[in-house]
C-alpha cells in the first residue's frame, strides 16, 4: 500500500509539471488556434535562463526564477510577434511546422550556448526529503505541487475576474465579436504567448531542480505533455490539468510496477505509456475528455 501511495505522490508531482506545460499549450491554442510544438524549447530555455541568472549573475534562487519567468514570458510574446503573426490565416499544417522548426532552432541554440553536460540548477531543495509514514516526500516535489497549485489558482482567478482574462476568453470564443467590442486581438495573442512562456519556464525549473539536474533533454518533456493536453481536450484548461495528473500518475505507476505488470512490453515502457493512454482515450472520445467538438461547416 505504501508503495502505491509513494508512486501516486511521485505521479502527482510529475503530473503537476505536465499540467503546467499542457496549460501553456491550451492557452495558446484557445487564443490563436495554434499548437505550439516549440513549448519544449521555451521550457528548456526558461530553465537555462534561471540557471544563468542564479549561477552566472549570482542572484538568489527565488529572484533568479522570477527573472527567468519574466524573461521567458517576454521571449514567448516576442516569438508570437516576430514569427507567428506572419502565419495568421495559413493552414494548420504550415503553422504547426513553423513551431516545430522553432523547436529545433531553440534546442540547438541552447546546446550551443550551454553545452550538453548536466548542470546543477542551484535550487535550495536539493535531495532533501520529508517523511509521512512510510511515504518519502521529496522537498522539490512538494514545492512543485505547491507552485503548480498556486499558479493554477491564480490562472483561473485571472481568467474569471480580471478584465484582460475575460477579454482573452471572449477572443477565444469568437474573435470577430471580441474585435467588435474593442478588444485588441493582437494584445490577446501576445499575452497568451507570454503567459505560456512563463508557465513553460516554471515547468522547466521544477523539472530541472534537485537531483534531476539541468540538461538539454528536458525539452522532451513537452512531447509527453502533448498526450496530457490531448487527453484533456485541446481547448480545455481544466482538461489540461486533469490530463497532466492522469498522465503523470499513470507513468509513475507504470514505472513502479514495470517488473510485475509490464515485463512483456519491454524496458522503459513508462516512456511510451502516455501515448498509449492518449490513443486509447482518443479511440473513445476523439476530442479528449473535455474538448469541444468541432463544428464542421461547408
Amino acid at each position: 500500500m505504501s508503495e502505491f501511495l509513494q508512486l501516486c505522490f511521485n505521479g502527482t508531482a510529475l503530473g503537476a509539471r505536465y499540467a503546467l506545460v499542457a496549460l501553456g499549450f491550451v492557452i495558446i491554442y484557445r487564443a490563436t488556434g495554434v499548437i505550439n510544438f516549440a513549448q519544449g524549447g521555451l521550457l528548456a530555455l526558461g530553465a537555462y535562463l534561471a540557471y544563468a541568472l542564479n549561477d552566472t549573475a549570482a542572484l538568489p534562487f527565488a529572484l533568479a526564477v522570477i527573472g527567468a519567468v519574466i524573461a521567458s514570458g517576454l521571449i514567448g510574446a516576442a516569438t508570437e510577434r516576430v514569427v507567428l503573426r506572419k502565419m495568421v490565416g495559413q493552414p494548420v499544417f504550415a503553422v504547426v511546422m513553423v513551431t516545430i522548426g522553432m523547436l529545433f532552432i531553440l534546442e540547438q541554440t541552447i546546446t550551443s550556448i550551454w553545452g550538453f553536460e548536466a548542470l546543477n540548477l542551484g535550487d535550495p531543495w536539493g535531495v532533501q526529503i520529508v517523511r509521512a509514514g512510510d511515504v518519502v516526500l521529496a522537498q522539490r516535489d512538494l514545492w512543485t505541487i505547491g507552485i503548480a497549485g498556486a499558479v493554477l489558482a491564480a490562472f483561473f482567478a485571472f481568467f474569471r475576474f480580471s478584465k484582460l482574462g475575460v477579454a482573452m476568453r471572449a477572443t477565444a470564443f469568437d474573435q470577430e465579436a471580441a474585435l467588435a467590442q474593442g478588444i485588441s486581438a493582437r494584445r490577446v495573442f501576445a499575452v497568451s504567448w507570454g503567459i505560456s512562456g512563463a508557465l513553460a519556464c516554471l515547468a522547466g525549473v521544477t523539472l530541472a531542480a534537485g537531483p534531476a539536474a539541468l540538461s538539454p533533454g528536458i525539452g522532451a518533456v513537452a512531447l509527453i505533455a502533448f498526450p496530457a493536453m490531448i487527453v484533456g481536450g485541446l481547448d480545455s484548461p481544466v482538461g489540461a490539468v486533469l490530463g497532466g495528473l492522469i498522465i503523470g500518475i499513470t507513468q509513475a505507476l507504470t514505472t513502479g510496477y514495470q517488473e510485475d505488470l509490464f515485463g512483456w512490453a519491454g524496458a522503459n515502457f513508462a516512456a511510451v505509456m502516455p501515448y498509449v493512454v492518449m490513443v486509447l482515450i482518443l479511440l473513445v472520445r476523439p476530442y479528449g475528455l473535455f474538448g469541444t467538438r468541432e463544428v464542421r461547416r461547408i
Binding site: Y29, I35, V83, K86, M87, Q90, P91, V92, F93, A94, V96, M97, V98, I100, G101, M102, L103, F104, I105, E107, Q108, T109, T111, S112, I113, L223, F226, P227, I230, L234, A265, G266, A267, N268, F269, A271, V272, Y275, V276, M278, V279, L282, L283, P286, Y287, E294, R296, R297, I298
Partner: protein
C-alpha cells in the same frame, strides 16, 4: 470573317482539360525529360567520387519517401509526423525478407514485400488515426514515432534491439548485380550501381504518384485537402480516400526504408526518430507542398545536406568537428538547426517552395523577351 483552325498551335496552348492534364506538356518538356533520362543513364560513367555518389543515392532514397509524404500531406492535407516510423518498418522488413540469412528473396520481391508491408500497416493504423483531423492527427502520428521506436528497440529477435541489425540483401535483377555491376565490359562500384537502382525507382515512383494525382483518385484527394466536408458532399468517400492515401504513403515510405537499409547494409533504431520525420517534412516544404516535381527537388537539395555538412564541417566557421575542437556548435546540432531554420524561413517567405520559384522563372521566360 471566318475562324480558321491553325494546324500548328503554340506548345503552351491548351484547348481542353485533357491537354491540361497531359503528362508531358510541350515539346520542350519532352526534351527536358529526355535530358534527365540521359543524365540518369550517363552520370555514373563520369562521376566516380564515392562521396558525391553517396550524396545522390541518399537524395534518391529521400525523394521516394518524400513523394509518399507529399501524397499524404501535400495532396490530401493530412499532417503526419509519423513518416519515420514507416521508413523504419521498411528497413526492418527488407532485413527480414532480402538477406541470405533470412528469406533470401530476390530484389523485386523484397522491395515489393517491404512496400506491401508498409501499405498493410498503414491501412491498419489509418482508420484510427484519420478519425482525427489537423492538430489531433499531428500529435497522434507523433505518438506513432515514439511507439515505433519503442518497438524497434524491444522486439530484439526481429530488429536486433538497440544495437541494430545488418541488412544484407541481394540486389540482382536479370543478371545485373547492382552491388558489383559489370556492364559493357566495365566494372562499376557499389555506389554507381545503387545510383542506377535508386534513381530508376525514383522515376518509377514519380510516374506512379503523378498518374495517381492527375486522375480521378488524385482529384478526390485534393478535394479532401481543400475542404473535406465539401468533398464528401460531392460524393468523395472520405474514409476510403484518406485511408488509401495514408496506406500508399506508408508503402512508399517503407520502400524508401527498404532501399535505405539495403544501401547502408545496417540500420539501428536511432535513425528513425522524430528528426527523420522532420527532415522529410522539410524536404516537401522546401521543394513544394503538393507537387511531384518539388518532392524530388527538395530531396536533391536537402537529402544530401547532412552528408555535405559532415564533409565540409571543418571549413564552416564555428563548427566543432571533434571533441577537443573549439567550436560553439556541433555537426549534429548544426544539422538540426539548419533543418529547423529552413522550415521556418520557407513557410514564412515562400510557402509554396522551390517549385513555385521554378514556376515563376518559367512563367517569366515563357514569353521572353516580352514581359507578357
Amino acid at each position: 470573317m471566318s475562324f480558321r483552325r491553325t494546324p500548328r498551335v503554340h506548345g503552351l496552348m491548351t484547348r481542353s482539360y485533357a491537354d491540361d492534364l497531359r503528362l508531358f506538356g510541350s515539346g520542350k518538356a519532352k526534351l527536358g525529360l529526355l535530358a534527365l533520362v540521359l543524365a540518369y543513364l550517363g552520370l555514373p560513367f563520369f562521376l566516380t567520387s564515392d562521396f558525391w555518389l553517396s550524396v545522390l543515392d541518399y537524395a534518391g532514397i529521400a525523394a521516394i519517401g518524400a513523394l509518399g509524404l507529399n501524397l499524404l500531406t501535400g495532396y490530401t492535407g493530412q499532417v503526419s509526423l509519423g513518416h519515420a516510423f514507416f521508413i523504419g518498418l521498411g528497413a526492418y522488413a527488407a532485413a527480414q525478407l532480402g538477406g541470405p540469412d533470412a528469406l533470401n528473396l530476390p530484389l523485386p520481391l523484397w522491395l515489393l514485400g517491404a512496400a506491401v508491408f508498409g501499405v498493410l500497416v498503414g491501412a491498419l493504423i489509418g482508420p484510427f488515426a484519420l478519425r482525427l483531423r489537423g492538430n489531433y492527427l499531428a500529435i497522434v502520428t507523433l505518438g506513432l514515432i515514439f511507439l515505433g521506436e519503442h518497438l524497434f528497440r524491444n522486439l530484439k529477435e526481429v530488429t536486433g534491439g538497440n544495437s541494430g541489425t545488418n541488412v544484407d540483401t541481394t540486389a540482382t535483377l536479370g543478371g545485373l548485380d547492382f552491388k558489383d555491376l559489370a556492364l559493357l565490359g566495365e566494372n562499376f562500384s557499389f555506389n554507381q550501381g545503387y545510383f542506377w537502382l535508386i534513381w530508376g525507382l525514383v522515376g518509377l515512383v514519380a510516374l506512379l504518384v503523378k498518374n495517381l494525382v492527375r486522375t480521378r483518385p488524385g482529384r478526390a484527394l485534393q478535394a479532401v485537402r481543400d475542404r473535406d466536408v465539401a468533398a464528401e458532399v460531392v460524393g468523395v468517400q472520405l474514409g476510403r480516400y484518406k485511408v488509401g492515401a495514408f496506406a500508399v504513403s506508408s508503402g512508399l515510405a517503407a520502400l524508401a526504408g527498404a532501399l535505405l537499409g539495403s544501401y547502408q547494409q545496417f540500420v539501428s533504431p536511432d535513425e528513425f526518430s522524430l528528426f527523420l520525420s522532420i527532415q522529410y517534412i522539410a524536404i516537401i516544404i522546401v521543394g513544394g507542398v503538393g507537387t511531384v516535381f518539388g518532392s524530388i527537388v527538395g530531396a536533391l537539395v536537402l537529402g544530401g545536406l547532412p552528408g555535405l555538412i559532415d564533409k565540409y564541417s571543418a571549413s564552416i566557421p564555428g563548427v566543432s568537428t571533434g571533441s577537443g575542437d573549439s567550436g560553439f556548435i556541433s555537426v549534429f546540432s548544426l544539422n538540426q538547426a539548419i533543418f529547423g531554420l529552413l522550415i521556418v524561413l520557407f513557410l514564412v517567405f515562400e510557402p509554396r517552395g522551390l517549385a513555385a520559384v521554378w514556376l515563376r522563372v518559367k512563367a517569366y521566360f515563357k514569353a521572353w523577351p516580352f514581359s507578357y
